[in-house]
Amino acid sequence: MDPLHDFDRELAWVFDACERQIGTYPSVFRKTALDYLERYNVFRDGFNKNYICYALPFWLGRTLAVDADICRKISMAGVFKFFYFLVQDAVMDTEPGEYKADLLPLGNLFLFDFLHPYRELFPNDSLFWQSLRQYFQEWAYSTRWEREMFWTQRRIMTAADLKIIAHKAAPVKIINAAMAVLSGRPEAIGPLDTMVDAVLISAQLLDDCADWREDFKNGNCTYFLAQVLKYYHLTDFAALNESLIRKAIYFGDTIQDVTAIVKKNHRRLKNEPKYSVPYLISFHETFLKSFADLFKRVQNQKKAMLTGGFSRWLEKSRPFPE
């Protein structure tokens, strides 16, 4: 079971359709829009980004028995939805001296193409629109909350806060509502949202581990860095430096603490009694594997460090005699 490549044909159709749609944009926007499409194209050589927003409709389509044509439409909407929120993020993250407001008009074109299929599929009084509103509100709150919590309340993130952070990607769940309502099973929205929230939390934690240097430089006290503070019994982010963070990674339980949450999320996915999504479970397994690999690599590097400097020199510079 391959959560990406089992749907190569469908995703190829989706990306082709997105390219054709972008071809209808005013010419001044086309290059930038196509750059987005190329950068996040699952078929690009070296593509290593997350792809849940494109593939989730097909995974849910299998579980909920939704027509393949509808899954493709919703996946295409997912691409433009992703780009719309990328534009929002880019404008929100503008550094002093930068100017990104030119992206906003393009963002609006993405917004139209993201919402258009839903307007065709769901009447005004559909439950879908209530769910859509909820997800937009979750996203809006989450994007302000992290800054508000850390910089204003000066509170360090806890495990209970992770769901709010994961709601930075809440719009992914629009797919849950769409597929559940279309399959005639609106009661599935709750369980699907719980499972996708779990996956988004794991994805965020993996991002935190990967981006700790940049987060530290930018003063973002992520959950990962909050575990480093906990290791040293500190509450002041300003007390950290890169060396301390590295030592916490090698000699503390930082990675294990984060991995435990990912494992708990995996159990949640596997224990869903009625609306289990095998492809979502398979996708989440890649996160488990990533954390297991990370832990193993850290342990190997620690072991090498403990053998001492002369051993490391022999290993690196001259493994075999001349």
């Binding site: 994805a203 890169e242 990370l294 053998t307 493994p319 075999f320 005699p321």
Partner: protein
């Protein structure tokens, strides 16, 4: 016709084990670590590297604290994983 033997990788363990087995080598290693490693293993230890050999006794042991290598690359770089979507 025999298969060509792969040269053995020289590790710290091999260097130290030989000192436990070979008395003449042991004395040479203590007296002149770099010269002895060059002589026996054909490995040139750089001149800017200080190498000290110590020997435990029944009542004197050593705890060596390695240096923490802050410049090492941690296993992940930001390009290893994608966005949370």
């Amino acid at each position: 016709m025999g298969r060509k033997k792969q040269p053995k990788k020289v590790t710290k363990q091999i260097i130290v084990e030989k000192a436990m087995a070979d008395e003449i080598y042991r004395q040479k290693l203590i007296a002149d670590p770099k010269g002895t490693i060059q002589e026996y293993f054909n490995i040139t230890v750089p001149s800017d590297m200080e190498l000290i050999v110590v020997e435990e006794t029944p009542s004197r042991f050593y705890l060596v604290i390695p240096q923490f290598h802050n410049e090492d690359d941690l296993p992940y770089s930001p390009d290893d994983v994608g966005m949370a979507w």
